[in-house]
């Protein structure tokens, strides 16, 4: 019998680490609500010999919540609307999505 990971406990907004997010089309229509784990580190961007410290946020999300979602979609978290920059599915049922 295949092992089915229970991801819900990680993506719980009250007992887990998640926050509520709304996935939207580029036109602003809601695709679905999803719980995501937001990380917002400040990292260094290099351009020629200059560097810029800038937040490079990403979310962890259940891969099933990304069905039909591509780079044209937006993700709203705490009233901030982010673009989807790139996506990495880790194969265990969760994905990392870099947002700006």
């Amino acid at each position: 019998m295949a092992f089915a990971e229970n991801l819900a406990q990680f993506f719980d907004t009250s007992t887990g680490f998640a926050v509520a997010a709304i996935i939207k089309t580029s036109a602003g229509a809601t695709v679905r609500n999803a719980n995501v784990i937001l990380t917002n580190p400040i990292q260094e961007i290099g351009l020629f010999e200059q560097a810029l410290e800038k937040p490079l946020p990403f979310i962890q999300i259940q891969t099933t919540d990304l069905a039909g979602v591509d780079h044209t979609h937006k993700i709203e978290i705490a009233s901030v609307l982010y673009r989807i920059v790139k996506r990495h599915d880790d194969g265990t049922g969760t994905s990392i999505v870099w947002i700006q």
Partner: protein
Amino acid sequence: MSTKRQSLFDAVLTRAATITIANGYATNIGSHVKEWQTTPLEPADLDALCVSDANENTIVGQEGENAGLYRRELEITFDAVLAENGQNAQTARKAIGDLIKMIGVDPTWGSLARRTLPISDQVMLDDSGTRIGGVRVKVKIIYSRKPWEA
């Protein structure tokens, strides 16, 4: 005592600071001019223009200089770090145009130099999707100075 190189660099910084939309340019990179910026910028610094003068070459015996007056080529590097409005390099191209226009106001920098010659200009975009662009413009300022005169 200010050296000729310091006077030239001061003139470059002063002129670079005039690059604002209010002064008829297409960008405001002159609002945040930084000399030899070696530590990371912050988002509040954008759009920024970082200026440095790493190299100066000496050429002996050309263009009519006698043995007592050598031709100097002071390389100035302008690095602009810019926030783009979309997935494009439009602000970067405007910044290049502004730098060319700024130098063209007076390529002798108030008669401190003979002229200023272009070397290269480059555009670069951050690949992490931040829509931050970079511009590097290199020029060389041609002036004369005695062999051991500062």
